[in-house]
Symmetry: C2
Subunit: 387 residues, 2 copies
């Protein structure tokens, strides 16, 4: 599986914002790019056409979920996951490390792998780095993740160190398999700056085709998330794509791109959409709010998404107040489109050499949902070292 | 609101199968035709484009539901229900008679109208024939239904008689309002043959632009439903469209068209779709069944719907086993497409003069979900008087 990445703008230092292109056998992905999450080989409520129409160029599926149901061998026998779900562009799969440690009933972790009980039916499984690669190869994805040991951000330091070291050993074992999909390395280390740095350096030395930053957006503060992203990026090779796992709020994307990140995935845009929470440049709005009840115009006439192009805010309000399934779709489309467009705007700003001004303006206007997060975010942004 | 109906084939007698065209200001509807149900101004889970793509030429909304939420005056202020929901073709609205009597908490019925408490918030309402027309005029629909008094099929004969007579008086009051939408008359009378006949005759004398047959598919037997449909049709004018309310299973459609019905509506195709029950010429299949788990081909390669054109039965099975929202959409599209295509096939058979042969073949092959219903249906079909 060929994978190439070329920088087209920015990226002067390891933590500078960048614009690039990720090239896979199934097409090119201009970066920064957001990958919609199709955990079970479906981006919830949407067809592949709608996902592509929202601006997505690459999608994500989850190896843990598809391993459990319907099974990777079944999907392989049906021609692979692209054909199964009807998505012809590139697909990146998460190994399921995060899911094994957060979702399954964990039985035992040792160097060999992880024993857990399925969250679906309680069946017992022994998931190893080798099995994670076998699953992802059978799915036929374009980019795979090695199994990693993920801990909550506030886990004790010795546990974080053990998990990071194990993740490193598991990466080496995974890479030795010479798997068909391109294999990224995942930087762990919790919110310990030294551990993050050391882990990033050790993985950087292995020259993986790409790097993921894991174990963030799992309960740590925004300030810690931003700091750890920057620490990881500082020691990663500039010529390889960087993927910040599980991050998807607009303000977090701007901060991460500022630190040199290229790729993102998160359930947030579609999950928020299904609750009626829609992205705008001023922050999220709740479409169920009474102020939208009689608004005959779209939520945002300049949005460019098919939802804003075809439906009034009043109609979306009506659909959500009645729990109508169409509302979930239309809101998911809007939110994905917003995030993809945000990535495009950041890319344009990098290419024009005006990313800092873009980020200043965006963050001054965008109101995060949580006021504490907002204060924290602004303080961090305003005190950052200037180029 | 101009409404015209012209017969193009069949219809030799009042209970002969017919092919026609219903012409409205918003477009033509070849008949027999099925109207997808968009109770709350949305055909559940689908966009207007998908509804049209499935073959629908006319849609249905419900005045009771839209009166309660978001309110007909709000929809009027936003430009009417077509614009609100983004459906540009003709729309027929049900008055809400059936919903008032089946869904709301009924307080009192007298000649003036109905007092009920909303099923949503318990608020008290006084719904009259006049209000039902006011609501539907404000929605701006193309065809309206008068308020009718609907009873379960097994209600005592005197109650059925009173309800039918009240329905007649309410129709006269509704018609006197000279409402903007074309107003159909609704034949009631439960499963009492004499009452049905008398009611049909009295309404027929009033030369409505179209006739609905109400109070069926509400618990009576299949044999009674078929018999009452035929009794009503026997006394309705041949040159006006006949609409059998709330009937939507494939075998029922074939029986009703055989008796001279032109229009149908029912939540069945989309509701069944959302449970994973899909129509085929052999009867319904449950897509969750294990036999579809590894079927890499579509449910029906000849179907012509976008679901069968793009997705394998195995993928649908996977979506339903995981309660994925996309499954509800794809199955709803398939079922609507199946019903619309069935109407087209019946139309073609009428125009070719081979409807009886088509019906024989269809009913011999199609297995209704319920074996008792099947036996009853076949017996009735086989003993019908031949032309």
């Amino acid at each position: 599986m060929a994978l190439a990445f070329r920088l087209e703008g920015g990226g002067e230092g390891p933590t500078s914002p960048r614009a690039g292109t990720l090239t896979t056998d199934r097409g090119e992905v201009p970066t920064p790019a957001f990958m919609p999450v199709g955990t079970l080989a479906t981006v919830k409520a949407l067809t592949p056409d709608e996902v592509a129409g929202s601006g997505a160029r690459i999608a994500l599926v989850n190896a843990y979920h598809l391993y459990l149901r319907p099974g990777h061998r079944l999907i392989e026998s049906l021609g692979g996951v692209h054909r199964f779900m009807g998505w012809n562009g590139p697909i990146l799969s998460d190994s399921g490390g995060y899911q094994v440690f957060s979702l399954a009933r964990l039985l035992r972790v040792d160097d060999e792998g992880v024993r857990f009980r399925s969250h679906l039916d309680g069946s017992e499984h022994h998931y190893t780095p080798e099995l994670a690669i076998e699953v992802q190869s059978a799915l036929g994805v374009d980019i795979a993740m090695p199994l990693d040991h993920v801990l909550p951000g506030d886990a004790p330091a010795p546990d974080q160190r053990d998990a990071a070291e194990r993740t490193l050993r598991w990466f080496d074992r995974s890479r030795a398999l010479d798997p068909a999909p391109a294999l990224f390395a995942i930087v762990q280390g919790g919110v310990d700056e030294d551990l993050r740095r050391r882990h990033a350096r050790e993985l950087a030395a292995r020259k993986a085709p790409g790097y993921a930053i894991g174990g963030l957006s799992v309960g740590e503060s925004k300030a810690e998330q931003y700091a750890m992203t920057e620490v990881a990026c500082a020691d990663l090779p500039v010529d390889r794509p960087r993927y910040l796992m599980g991050v998807g709020s607009p303000e977090d994307l701007v901060h991460a791109v500022a630190a040199g990140v290229d790729l993102f995935d998160c359930v947030l845009p579609t999950r928020l959409g299904r609750t009626g929470s829609l992205f705008t440049d001023d922050g999220r709005v709740n479409i169920k709010s009474a102020r939208f009840r009689d608004r005959g115009t779209p939520l945002n006439s300049d949005c460019g998404c098919t939802t804003c192009g075809n439906y009034s805010a009043a109609y979306l309000n009506h659909l959500f107040r009645n729990d109508e399934l169409l509302g979930y779709r239309l809101a998911s489309i809007h939110n994905l489109c917003y995030i993809h467009r945000l990535c495009e705007r950041m890319r344009e700003a990098v290419l024009k050499g005006v990313f800092d001004a873009f980020a200043d303006e965006f963050l001054a206007r965008y109101q995060p949902a949580d006021e504490a997060a907002r204060t924290e975010q602004r303080a961090r942004w305003e005190t950052r070292p200037r180029a």
